[in-house]
Subunit: 222 residues, 2 copies
């Protein structure tokens, strides 16, 4: 049977971009379906009835939701270019950091949009401390998993990139080479890899989107 | 080399109990070390410097934190009596539900302690809706994974048990056979298995602990 792989995603979501990145790294052919979150399609509602969110991978008709679950599924199904190491301890460490990124850093960042100016400063400080933790973890290593690109690199790259776009739009500079030399050097290395850049949204569109989000948050708080 | 397995845990935590349950199901010998969260030991701080929380599994000197990460590590290291199915799609489904339980149900429940009476009613309602989702998932099946006990059964059993103890102490009845016939029947089946009961705290001590927690929350809100 020919493999049929569909990805329900959103161009502006680092969570669907991380799935795209892994599909591309493994050379898996897939059909990308952009979802309208304001008008959810029957396919999305049927494929992820519990959360009704993207990303959803549909492999030969079977849907899988939640980006970490999808990444593990892809890695177990297509074994070439593994993103998780083979050794159970190294796998546990990768899962620990991926979880830290999503449950700590993403959670902190998600409070930003609805925060007032004072809270925003606190959130940026907290995010800085959390990024310091991953900066320290990366120290002395080429990539998070050691010498080759893996799970944590993929998850962290997209998030740090999103933060960098955000800070440029807001004309703030809280991630820079002075504060995060290790992370910035590692980001530079990943930007040299074509497939990493191919998964990023077009810059102008991305900037305009974030600007619109900021304006919408300002209007909502008035 | 002889295997050395240590578990840093807390008797009243369903998260360390889930690790104990899997260690026992697989017949792994381990040393249990009770942690004092008010006076964290150098071993805990060294083993989980990021979160400083239990459970932590230390296998041959190497620490692993976060209960889901630990469960996957145990399953990959000791392959007898697997808790995750072999097929990648079934594994993804098990991970999806384990994630739902911890990220939705546990998160909702964690707001209970500091809530006022009105909020508590809302939280119980929300928890009821979330439990309905897993009740529906279990319908028509012996266990979450199908015919044998697996990952989701372990994670869900301990949580539902904790809720049941909580409701008895508070003399509320929001989980019962009328509202949750499928979950209650499944809980009954798991209670027939010795190892599941062996992982539960002594009833009197558990009741007294929850009573003390409720009193402490009441005093704090005065």
């Amino acid at each position: 049977m020919a493999e049929e792989v569909k990805l329900l995603g959103l161009w502006a979501s680092p969570f669907s971009c991380r799935v795209e990145l892994v599909l591309k790294l493994k050379g898996i052919q897939y059909q990308y379906i952009e979802v309208d979150l304001f008008n959810k399609s029957p396919l999305l509602l049927k494929s992820n009835p519990v959360h009704k969110k993207i990303p959803v991978l549909i492999h030969n008709g079977k849907p899988i939701a939640e980006s970490h679950v999808i990444l593990e599924y892809i890695d177990e199904t297509w074994k070439n270019n593994p993103i998780l190491p083979e050794n159970p301890y190294d796998r546990a460490i990768a899962r620990f950091w991926a979880k830290f990124i999503d449950e700590k850093i993403v959670q902190t960042a998600s409070k930003f949009r609805s925060a007032n100016e004072e809270e925003k400063e606190q959130i940026l400080e907290e995010l800085g401390e959390q990024l310091k933790v991953i900066e320290k973890e990366l120290e002395g290593k080429e990539f998070f998993g050691g010498e080759s690109i893996g799970y944590v690199d993929i998850v962290a790259f997209l998030l740090v990139y999103w933060f960098q776009v955000g800070q440029e739009v807001m004309q703030k500079e809280w991630i820079n080479e002075e504060k995060f030399p290790v992370l910035c050097k590692w980001m530079g290395k990943l930007h040299e890899i074509d497939v990493f850049n191919q998964c990023l949204p077009p810059k102008d569109k991305h900037y305009a989107y974030i600007r619109a989000q900021i304006e919408a948050a300002k209007s909502a708080s008035k």
